[in-house]
Assembly symmetry: C2
Homo-oligomer: 297 residues x 2
């Protein structure tokens, strides 16, 4: 059966790329996985996309709407940033120079404190399309977790925490690699979250205690992993407190990681709404499609 999309949705991040053949809001097919922006030079994007959507019947007029690092300075085309406060998507999405009808969603930036996002704005747009009256905080956990303040359909402010990258670097590249391993311990996680959330200054000292307790007290690799995760998520929640304190919180992310954040936030007495990221990206790209009409390169 030939795939004949009306338009093509593309989520192109640092480490991977995905494309969907779309008909309105419906997914007709998913393309082959593609290489992330991190491994491509600017002239590598067009052939990579061609391989991802190989076999689909398309014309040069079919809109291709992409979000993520594909729009970074080192990406296919620099889509720039829009400064907050702002709606997550622009009213009008410019077509960028390419042999196809390519539109790339710009990122969001914040002047003070300096911050940037690229890709998450599309998930936020998808969330707001489904929850137009949401006022509160959106948390998108990940390598670079984002905390986003939403009011009246706009991103008012946001902060990025490098929690995921810190976890990976600490558990792989430091002496903690000898202590952290497979497994989990709910109690160790909860205790560690409370510790750095209530005493964020303890973080620097508590990290090494994971190693010391491994040597002296037989801390298991799974409990060590749970404690490291808890210490870092607790530190993130301490930094993000102005976002979540007394506010509705929506969590957007993969099941395991978002589950940890939900546990940590529920320990603070919060009600947390959880949504999966992939569906929101597609919903956000669908919303972005509406901003492409009539635009030319």
């Amino acid at each position: 059966m030939t795939v004949e999309p009306d338009w093509i949705a593309v989520d192109w991040g640092t480490s991977h790329a995905r494309a969907w053949a779309m008909s309105g809001e419906a997914v007709l097919a998913e393309g082959a996985p593609g290489p992330g922006m991190g491994t491509l030079s600017p002239d590598g994007f067009a052939p990579a996309l061609a391989r991802m959507i190989d076999g689909w019947r398309i014309t040069p007029e079919i809109p291709v709407v992409a979000c993520g690092m594909v729009g970074a300075k080192q990406g296919w085309h620099d889509a720039g940033y829009r400064t907050v406060p702002a709606t997550p998507l622009p009213d009008r999405l410019a077509r960028v120079p390419a042999d196809i009808a390519l539109h790339i969603v710009p990122g969001l930036s914040q002047t003070a404190p300096a911050d940037v996002m690229r890709g998450e704005e599309t998930q936020i747009a998808g969330f707001l399309a489904l929850n137009p009256d949401f006022d509160g905080a959106i948390c998108l956990p990940g390598s670079h977790s984002k905390w986003v303040q939403i009011s009246a359909g706009e991103v008012v402010s946001f902060r990025t925490m490098m929690t995921g990258e810190l976890f990976a670097a600490l558990s792989r590249e430091t002496i903690l690699r000898h202590s952290v391993g497979e497994g989990w311990d709910d109690a160790a996680f909860a205790e560690a979250v409370s510790e750095t959330l209530s005493r964020p200054e303890a973080l620097a000292a508590r990290l090494f205690s994971i190693r010391a307790e491994g040597l002296l007290a037989g801390l298991s690799p799974g409990a060590a992993q749970a404690r490291l995760s808890g210490l870092l998520i607790g530190a993130e929640l301490a930094a993000a407190k102005p976002y979540w304190l007394g506010m509705p919180v929506a969590l957007i992310g993969a099941a395991t990681l978002a589950g940890r954040y939900a546990t940590a936030l529920e320990m603070q007495g919060l009600q947390v709404v959880r949504t999966r990221g992939e569906a929101l990206t597609l919903r956000g790209l669908t919303a972005a499609l509406g901003s492409t009409k009539g635009n030319t390169a």
Copy 2:
């Protein structure tokens, strides 16, 4: 000229090893540099030491006094830990099984909060040999910075902060590697120290702002390095505040790094005494020699 030592001093750490031919407190010669504990299996230490001291005239009775990771579980021989509060060195240093008269200084451990040190206890002993009346805090900056409370010649308590390893992992293994580079900026360092010392919960969010300011505001690689260093040292000082607040502080370490700590501590109105680590290690090993007399394997 033949080197004829009375005894041999050895500083054997994770990444390198050094040996000195000694006559009492005087250094007769320094041996060839040797491999660190991290690259050796237990039966590799004896031949490695033989190469380091090749050409020296020694007998099997000449004491060899070693400190550092050579005494770890994965080292030449597990020298164990002594629990604080304790003097930095034991009254009696046991000879360990070897074809030479080898004595390894044990490390120090703390039960709660769990912590360990191995090697630093010898530098502390050297410092106290030179400053027997010192009461206050000793800071040994490094990959694993140590903060040590000294009273009446004893180590009362200590904490390890992974500041140096965190700096290396963040500046090499995360997105900050695109922003951090050569150079320095005193003002950026001072501002960052103040920030995380006064608001330690800001650390998680401030790390990514180094990247964001690189993208949006042209933060230079040198200013980025100074800021990363300042944020982490400020977080360390926040965690170590019970050690240094209102106390005399002695800094033991290499010139550049100890200089940064001195700057950060002097910003808090403290008087800081600085000493170089190498001389203290030799002084401490000399003190340890006095604990070897009459001991046999």
